[in-house]
Symmetry: C2
Subunit: 369 residues, 2 copies
């Protein structure tokens, strides 16, 4: 516990007793899905300590029915929660909300990461103001893992930034590399920049500039160049970098197309008695296929580029998918995602001046598993 890490650990949450601060009140079916998710997380991360923030009376009563989750958590009472449809500007003014208190716990060094299934816009706004961007990162982004024919791929930005310039895209590539290392366990993930064609002259100035900068950087050997829409599911690269507008639309278009395929397939199998028999014969394989591309398995978008790990679960998550979001956060914490990002920023000469380090003398614990 006292051994200093090779890479200096400067996460603001490095010295806290908790692996994660979890917003118990965010999501369409909170806190039930949160507690169901924590039950599953208790099996997967038995040593992790969780700070569970929400209505204490409600949570105490509920935890009685979730003994596994109860063994993992300390409860901290919050007076308020942020409605799913509240505008970010309004959400910022809500004091004592479970989401804000989770961010504050991280900022105070009590936990290394936050997980919430609450209002995305509010979450990003609070994270930027309370947890703050990593020095050198001008725009934190939203990243997630997606299925492809060649295994999982990381895509970002999925919607945190509607408009992006070349520098933002270079930062996304750095953050995407670190996320792919942490989430997919790839030592040297390949990186593609999403464009309307793979030729060097395609796209706009911003894309061509980002491409040139990446090619000339230490990330050059891993940089594949431009990729197109079909390359996402083909798995041409391990990381797909794009602006938040395009990324959000590509993500939802891909999910929609897979959903269309399954709904057409259902019609095929329901045609007559013979096709129903056919369905029974392939059912196990089909269910594995459906599980494999199930968006719930890919739940947990990382707001990457902040001074701590901030993970957004889908608002409509169930327990299984909330547990997947906790996995994303734990992977990022365990693999010291932010250290990897900092090292790349320094290597690329993109790091900003060091921030004042009041807590520098504190002993640094080993990463939580």
């Amino acid at each position: 516990m006292t051994k200093a890490p090779v890479t200096p650990e400067r996460d603001i949450a490095a010295s806290g007793p908790y692996a994660l601060a979890v917003d118990a009140m965010g999501g369409d079916r909170a806190p039930d899905i949160v507690l169901a998710g924590l039950d599953l997380a208790a099996d997967r991360h038995p040593k992790a300590r969780i700070l569970l923030i929400g209505d204490e009376a409600l949570l105490s009563a509920a935890l009685a029915k979730h003994p596994k989750a109860a063994g993992l958590c300390d409860i901290r009472h919050s007076e308020a929660s942020i409605p799913m449809d509240m505008k970010p500007t309004s959400a910022l003014r809500v004091r004592g909300s479970s989401m804000r208190m989770a961010m504050e716990a991280v900022a105070a060094g009590e936990a290394r990461g936050v997980v919430s299934a609450g209002n995305s816009g509010a979450m990003l706004a609070l994270a930027k103001i309370i947890v703050k961007a990593l020095p050198g990162i001008s725009r934190p982004a939203m990243a997630a893992v997606q299925p492809s024919a060649r295994g999982d791929v990381v895509m970002l930005d999925l919607g945190a930034n509607i408009a992006c310039d070349a520098r933002n895209l270079v930062e996304f590539a750095i953050m995407g590399e670190a996320f792919a290392q942490a989430a997919l366990g790839l030592p040297s993930p390949t990186i593609g920049l999403l464009n309307v064609g793979s030729e060097e002259l395609k796209g706009d100035e911003r894309l061509r500039q980002a491409s040139e900068r990446l090619r000339a950087s230490p990330l050059g050997p891993q940089f594949h160049g431009f990729v197109e829409g079909h390359d996402i599911t083909a798995g041409t690269t391990d990381v797909v970098v794009t602006d938040g507008f395009t990324g959000n639309i590509a993500l939802k278009t891909g999910e929609g197309a897979l959903k269309l395929a399954f709904s057409l397939l259902r019609r095929v199998f329901e045609t007559n008695l013979l096709t129903r028999l056919g369905y029974l014969l392939v059912k196990p394989g089909l269910e594995r296929m459906r599980e494999w591309i199930d968006p719930r398995r890919y739940n947990g978008a990382l707001f990457v580029g902040l001074n701590a790990i901030v993970v957004k679960s889908h608002g409509g998550a169930d327990g299984e998918s909330f547990a997947a979001a906790i996995d994303v956060a734990m992977d990022a914490v365990t693999h010291r995602l932010n250290d990897k990002i900092r090292a790349r920023l320094e290597q690329l000469g993109l790091e900003a001046p060091e921030p004042p380090a009041p807590a520098a003398a504190k002993a640094v614990p080993e990463p939580v598993s």
Copy 2:
């Protein structure tokens, strides 16, 4: 051909003897796929006259093996053709190419539309210079029909314009409506504007402005508002309007996801003897499903907003898909697509090009939820 249309016909090609001028030399396997496509077109459009442009010796010999196509076509000799990988700026300098001559035939009023499976960039550049944009259209766009759970939908722009402003998007909505009327036979197609969320404040200034203008226009009752990526395949609206960058990526991402679904499905069916038997039981339905979403069936992107019908077939087209592209062109010609666009432009007071607006204030990005 001599009957005066009810709607005054002002297409530059209105009085010509040919329905279409077809570039026989464009595409990876030209002219074979062109002639195979024309054979099929002869059954579907027996009264159409086609001006077939390409190497006369080659075409004369080849037509001997395609008697149906031969009955439809007159050959016009061209000395050159534009390579598939030539840059548009270079392609513009090639005199006497089959693609240029097809455009020139339309501009001279000999034919009402052009079909080519050649170089897309060259085709768009030549069309803009020779056929020219419709008065009031500042940016011709690329439109095509896509499959959805509720039937076919029209999407545009698919890549003709990387950056678009609010006015361009309003024009795309007008052109999309007309295309959906012609291609899908819908009298009052609904229109959606692709965005990262459906709430009115989502996206950038350009999208919010386009949305306001459409809502206040005579197209208002058909305007659904913002739609998201998954709405394309859900068929939420009959027309999906977006900029060419996003549209191109959404198109290819959706195609890629469907391809992934089929490749996973193949693995499921190939697991063992029972799953192979299951495959045999559902095979007819599966093949109908595959055909229904087959990109070849949706071949034929319309460069809409020009003074004539200009249809781009995929470069890798086969005879069947080239025939689909001819269908798109014939539908647009028959349904007087450009008259519909002109009528809407007048109704919206957009007949004249808008003076260039001062650079819009930088949009404040709204986070996605």
